[in-house]
Assembly symmetry: C2
Homo-oligomer: 345 residues x 2
Amino acid sequence: MKQTILVTGGTGFIGSHTTVELQQAGYDVVIVDNLSNSNAEVVDGIEQITGIRPAFEQVDCCDKQALEAVFAKYKNINGIIHFAASKAVGESVEKPLLYYRNNTVSLLNLLELMPVYGVKGFIFSSSCTVYGQPSKENLPVTEDAPIQEACSPYGNTKQINEEIIRDYIHSGVNIKSVILRYFNPIGAHPSALIGELPNGVPNNLIPFVTQTAMGIRNELKIFGNDYDTPDGTCIRDYIYVVDLAKAHVKAMQRVLDMDTEPIEYFNVGTGRGVSTYEVVDKFEKATGVKVNWSYAARREGDIEKVWANPDKANNVLGWKAESELEEALSTAWKWQLKLREKGVM
Amino acid sequence: MKQTILVTGGTGFIGSHTTVELQQAGYDVVIVDNLSNSNAEVVDGIEQITGIRPAFEQVDCCDKQALEAVFAKYKNINGIIHFAASKAVGESVEKPLLYYRNNTVSLLNLLELMPVYGVKGFIFSSSCTVYGQPSKENLPVTEDAPIQEACSPYGNTKQINEEIIRDYIHSGVNIKSVILRYFNPIGAHPSALIGELPNGVPNNLIPFVTQTAMGIRNELKIFGNDYDTPDGTCIRDYIYVVDLAKAHVKAMQRVLDMDTEPIEYFNVGTGRGVSTYEVVDKFEKATGVKVNWSYAARREGDIEKVWANPDKANNVLGWKAESELEEALSTAWKWQLKLREKGVM
């Protein structure tokens, strides 16, 4: 019998790609999303890719009554992947209460409902932001690296959510959880039927690159070329979103099927540190499109360098990033072209 | 014109004593309490002491609609002192979601309502637990000592609440806040009309001492006499609850009247580290009553020693702990006798 997974934020960037991979791995998916930062057409895109339409409920996870109705309607939910969250760092500084409320209450509602409806597995979207700027000895960063004070209310909600899940599991409830700490997710589905849809000016590098290449933005600024890195620009670990989505399938199999620890943490990255300059350079080479860019002063709050040691995910989860950076960048460009074609931007 | 202060948890131990001191300093007080861990007779006790009956609303601060009705009813609230919180360390380990929800949502509700109703000052009940076990160089502990990972969900909610308030103030809202980090509050009002009313087996030393002296408990265990302290027992900073209450009046005057920083932190302690053994010994000497006690093994999670450097509160807040330990212990005993007389226990 098929297992059913509730995917909160399932019409978002990572949520939609994960829904595709879950369906292709044989799971039934119920998407819950309030569409605050995505749209319902994503469900069509998922259906076009997989041939299966996921169930979709437009519900805000902060609304416990509405959320409970979803649990009651789909009686046999086996696991939850919780993507739904407010995620803009800058906005979180301006509206911290909104972030603390949305990201805390939605998690509490889900965790409270799990035992009531016999849901056993919980996968949480965390972030490498919990590591802050790791010290030199801690690069590439493992799951045991110290957690550092968050740089923004957004980052703090990720830490707090990890703590809430940890304390809940430690209280002895019959639930298992995997915390996935993502590095920098990029790219789009190779079909270009789903991808990233940033609201307004993108916060992330790749959408800014593709929008600049497209002429939507005049110029890309690379913030800082005097960092202590080989070319002076910041270093990140860019993980292809389809690879990242597959890590969720592995994580779900692990929490539902195996005799494992009740809570486990995995870095989801490639293990490859790539500079901002390299990203732009590889994008131009992979697509043949020029990007108008220049160096600007460092931006406050930016981490100099961080990349993953993904050994634990490789060995324990049996998951590995498969894609090359060029491939991921090409899918991002293909998606940007599709958005133009559809008249979205 | 009198200023009005909303005191959440105002029928609780510290809340009731603070209400008395606020009234005696000329403030009007509105108490909000859900009576989950206190009773409405405390309002009578406050009235007997001060001759003024504080307004009382039985409302759970997690119920935003009911809370907003209080703000709307008492139109001119100038400041809030937020005591209402779930506070049992052991229970927080067993029911972490209850603690994260109660202590987070109640704070968010209050902070969200403040600008809507023009409330300017916010005093928050924090705890020396945020310092964990300070290193030797950091004893006595100042407000600049590092914040350490919380030992319980309860302790974590105090840290998270401090962070939420900090981020809210930093977002530029027109509100000022003082965070008071209490050491170990003890004693009762000298009138014995209000005091501490622990539910079931007391978590704190002094109620356990007075209940053992009364014969309600068979024996007091002192957990550990092999700590690195002069007599081998743990060291704490016991602050008389009436002194502590007065610190809130000073803090409220500061956030409402003065041209000060938008957020300030103060340790509220005596500066005097006292061992568990000394407490029992001084209790017996101050009251002439014997306590049946013995040493037992260390208890997991206990901090070895912590006491305050209260210089900042002394100098900046203009507040100082006035009472001797014996005096505080005598009031605790007088209160215990009163509870017996009233047939409460």
